[in-house]
């Protein structure tokens, strides 16, 4: 198995099997009805079939939270880890087996709060994987506590008089980290854009960070307010190198051309939290991928014995 990932997105090993969306289906998801996680799961299954990913060579890694149940509802390999630590696990998977296709599913508490150190460093490692931030601006599984992305003033069980601090901006933070290579935002309520974004993220060679705007039907159902019903309130970032989803062109009148290679503009657009923007903020495939940088020649057991003997020689008396 070659350590290089240069071709694996385009050509898999010979495989005469054909996979339908149903081939990736796991048990019935136990999320609440109306939860955005369902749309993400559907879009992911569609992506897997679209890319004909072999279930046995695909790994979904997650942390803890509602959205982290994700791998259980697929029929690929999965690692449902601990709170905040999906990225170290997935980094280990890729270092050990660079040929596996790895997806990481995290919630906002998982990624932006308890796992923030790993998030920042994962961007810098730029390991080739797709990282999905399912951001519903609240801790749902533990019943409505303030998360770092909860808007200021929003009432929760831990901060009933409203969240004290301005919400953290995950896009701005991601774009500020050395080696950021793919940063996009999409929304659970625009399935075509969600799918197109996942597709672009998967095709990107490097660490693809996708923030998916979601509502929690129980605790943040009102979160994006009118923007959910009125696409005119959302600005779509468009570019032929960006997220291309022709089927929604007519739906969104408000479009802004943005060249995803322009980091300064990407940062300016991300920083402005008054406008909901969907699209590809930034992409740069020139950054080296950590697992390739660290890829090493494979030695047979006999080779290793020979090298070990050389090491013993160094310490020999």
């Amino acid at each position: 198995m070659s350590g290089s990932c240069s071709v694996f997105h385009l050509a898999q090993e010979e495989d005469d099997r054909h996979f339908e969306m149903g081939d990736y289906e796991g048990p019935v998801a136990r999320w609440c009805s109306g939860c955005g996680d369902h749309s993400v799961l559907t879009a992911v299954r569609r992506l897997l079939a679209d890319e004909q990913l072999q279930p046995e060579n695909t790994v979904f890694v997650s942390g803890i939270g509602c959205s982290s149940r994700f791998p259980h509802y697929l029929s690929t390999y999965g690692f449902h880890g601990i709170h905040g630590r999906a990225l170290p696990l997935s980094t280990g998977v890729k270092l050990s087996r660079p040929e596996l296709r790895v997806f990481v599913v995290m919630g906002d508490g998982d990624c932006v709060s308890i796992g923030a150190a790993h998030w920042i460093h994962a961007i810098r490692y730029n390991v080739d994987m797709v990282a999905l931030l399912l951001d519903n601006n609240i801790y749902g599984l533990t019943k409505k506590q303030t998360s770092p992305t909860t808007p200021q003033g929003y009432s929760t069980n831990t901060q009933p008089r409203g969240s004290y601090l301005p919400a953290m901006n995950p896009l701005e933070a991601t774009l500020g980290v050395t080696n950021a290579s793919f940063v996009a935002q999409t929304a659970e309520w625009v399935p075509a854009h969600l799918f197109a974004t996942l597709k672009a993220a998967y095709r990107h060679r490097g660490f693809s960070f996708v923030r998916i705007l979601q509502r929690c039907p129980h605790f943040t159902a009102d979160m994006y307010g009118e923007a959910v019903k009125n696409p005119g309130m959302v600005e779509l970032l468009v570019h032929d190198q960006g997220i291309v989803a022709p089927e929604i062109d007519a739906m969104f009148e408000h479009k802004r051309p943005h060249d995803p290679s322009d980091l300064d503009e990407a940062r300016a657009l991300a920083e402005d939290m008054n406008q909901i923007r969907l699209g590809l903020f930034f992409r740069d495939e020139s950054h080296p991928r950590y697992e390739e940088t660290r890829s090493l020649p494979h030695h047979t057991a006999a080779d290793k014995i020979r090298i070990l003997e050389e090491e013993f020689d160094r310490y020999a008396v």
Partner: protein, 636 residues
């Protein structure tokens, strides 16, 4: 009475010359080189130790390391250095006190003196420039030190190290160590060519002119000693030196990891574990392995677990504070039955504690540190050689039993250097490639064998084996299962693996008679010192024996039966326990040594303990004293 410094030098010599020096013959001799940080004392001692081993002496060296990189110069607490103990046979520990000292200033010497590290009557070769230093304060310090040292009866010989080194180098701080090596070379009649070989090896990455300069300093030392010293030391050497390798415990762990076929080490820098990753960083990539320096201790554990999950068993290296941070991930590895080797090079604790100094205080944290029931294997190498083999054993056990294996080393082994028989590397030690065969129909990812708890692992890439591992309670199919029966059964199966493993172990061997008045029980790096103490006491006619545990979880079998054959059983450990006679302490509230807790709980024998947390390895003489004092009925 102030110490009178014995001053020797050209023209002032008491008449010593190479031919007329008195030769002190001994089977056991300890030497220390102490200096300010950065003066190269350790390098000097390492070279001397390696050459001595090559010439057939038993050798144990231990580094004296201050916690700071560059503590203030000439400070009592800043002593940096190394002790080398030579013997006419194998040396298993650092011994008691030092017989010969090379000190680069009187303050670091004072530091060692105050720690009772020096034998009464020890010979000290001391840089004497400070006696006549232009700074009044320095001279005053010197005089005060001489006063204090004078009480102890040392033989202190002034050596103009600075003056001589300045003939070769501009900064004597960078040369004294090789000059001191020259003194040692003459005193112990080491083969100068072998010393040069070792110098060349040590400085192999440096330009030749550096090596040549070191040769010149070495020769100056040899020459000065020959012209000025009136004593030499002879520790008989073995004639047959088998195929040996000389390294420290951290190097042995690194090479053991390589020999085990593991291919990924994930770590975050922490003293005293980090040098394992330095050695790995140097050699691991030649073997196709990766040393991943993670963003924190937690991530290091996560990367290792992720790598193990997807392929060959990986490992992580840490020390106490890092073990604490990795706790939640260890629970995940136990719960998902993902193999993982964790090396804990123990240091003094709790919290930041004594970062550079030895302690054996992580035993119970290793066994019981995780919330919930998290059975795992814990083993402790007792020697540097065992550090090498522990990694090979740990890797195999982690994969066979699908669990976490913790290897408890410590700062004593980490920095101690000793020769051991060169291992014969075997392919069988290495992990095979990950199983990528198709999983049989109806195969289950936790198809526990009800007797042993063992099951086959479905590694990603195996067709038909797709499943999601989870830290949630789960059933044989890895489906989340909150029901009572599933949780009870899965807990049983994870635990059963330890009992099944223990059934394959042999009872520990007893050092000495298999019954008697007192049985000393130890674990980890204290083995050499305990056995030396026990042998001394047996020589005095005391009915004492010892046994040393390699496996702490599960414990080796047969302990209860063995303990019953002794009138008293007592652990000796480097961790804290209340003294039995301390105020308010009763037999019920007494906090005991960690192994002693464990043995009392498992054997129901009233196991006593003698433990110390002095920030140094135990001395055989101190253990021998403890044996005499704790002998039931008192020593005869």
């Amino acid at each position: 009475m102030a110490m009178k410094l014995q001053t020797v030098g050209p023209g002032k010599s008491p008449g010593a010359a190479a031919g007329s020096a008195r030769v002190h013959r001994t089977r056991d001799h300890s030497v220390e080189i102490v200096s300010d940080s950065g003066e190269g004392a350790q390098k000097c001692g390492q070279i001397f130790g390696a050459v001595s081993a090559k010439m057939g002496n038993g050798v144990w060296t231990v580094e004296i390391i201050p916690a700071e990189v560059e503590p203030p110069p000439r400070s009592i607490a800043g002593a940096s250095g190394i002790r080398i103990r030579l013997g006419d046979g194998p040396v298993t520990n650092w011994g008691d006190e030092t017989d010969l000292v090379m000190a680069f200033n009187e303050q670091v010497l004072l530091g060692r003196h105050r720690l009772n590290a020096l034998a009464p009557g020890a010979t000290i070769l001391l840089e004497d420039q400070w006696a006549t230093h232009p700074d009044d304060a320095v001279r005053a310090q010197w005089d005060a030190a001489m006063e204090e040292l004078g009480e102890a009866g040392y033989r202190i010989i002034g050596v103009p190290m600075e003056e001589i080194c300045l003939t070769q180098v501009e900064n004597a701080r960078k040369g004294k160590n090789m000059f001191a090596l020259g003194l040692l070379t003459w005193i112990f009649e080491r083969d100068v060519d072998r010393v040069k070989e070792q110098i060349a090896h040590t400085f192999r990455t440096k330009p030749q002119k550096v090596v040549d300069k070191n040769f010149a300093l070495l020769e100056l030392g040899v020459q000065w000693a020959g012209e000025n010293l009136d004593f030499r030391v002879e520790v008989p050497t073995a004639t047959e030196v088998g195929d040996l390798v000389v390294m420290n415990g951290n190097e042995a762990i690194a090479l053991g990891a390589v020999a085990s076929g593991m291919e990924l080490a994930a770590m975050y820098p922490i003293t005293p574990a980090t040098s394992v990753s330095h050695h790995l960083g140097e050699v691991f990539e030649r073997f196709g392995g990766i040393v991943h320096q993670a963003e924190d201790e937690i991530a290091a554990a996560g990367v290792a677990i992720g790598a193990s999950y997807a392929g060959k068993c990986a490992f992580t290296i840490t020390s106490g504070p890092g073990l604490a941070l990795k706790t939640e991930f260890l629970g995940l590895a136990v719960m998902t039955e993902t193999p993982l080797v964790l090396v804990d090079v123990q240091r003094g604790g709790p919290s930041t504690g004594l970062p550079t100094k030895v302690e054996q205080s992580d035993l119970l944290a290793a066994l019981f540190g995780q919330p919930g029931d998290a059975p795992k294997i814990v083993l402790a190498p007792a020697t540097i050689e065992e550090c090498f083999h522990a990694m090979i054993t740990a890797r195999r056990l982690a994969e066979i039993f699908r669990t976490v294996v913790i290897v408890l080393s410590d700062a004593n082994l980490a920095t101690g250097v000793a020769p051991f028989p060169r291992p014969e590397a075997r392919e069988a030690w290495q992990a095979g490639p990950p199983d990528q065969s198709a999983v049989p129909e109806q195969g289950r990812p936790y198809d526990w064998d009800p007797r042993t708890g063992l099951s086959d692992r479905f590694i990603p890439g195996r067709p038909g084996g797709m499943h999601t591992v989870t830290g949630l309670a789960h059933d044989e199919r890895s489906k989340v299962a909150y029901d009572s029966a599933s949780n009870q059964r899965a807990s049983e199966m994870r635990s059963r693996k330890l009992a099944a493993f223990q059934s394959t172990l042999l009872p520990p061997e007893i050092n000495g008679a298999d019954s008697g008045d007192l049985l000393i029980v130890g674990w980890g790096s204290t083995r050499g010192a305990i056995e030396e103490a026990v042998e001394r006491c047996r020589g005095e006619g005391l009915a004492v024996s010892s046994l040393h545990l390699t496996f702490l979880s599960p414990l080796e079998p047969g302990l209860t039966e063995i303990f019953k054959r002794f009138r008293k059983v007592m652990t000796v450990e480097i961790n804290y326990s209340d003294r039995a006679d301390a105020p308010f302490v009763t037999s019920e509230n007494r906090r005991r040594g960690q192994l002693s807790w464990l043995l009392r709980a498992t054997t129901l024998v009233d196991v006593d303990c003698w433990t110390r947390v002095l920030g140094e390895p135990l001395r055989p003489s101190a253990i021998a004293r403890a044996i005499r004092e704790n002998l039931p009925g008192g020593a005869p």
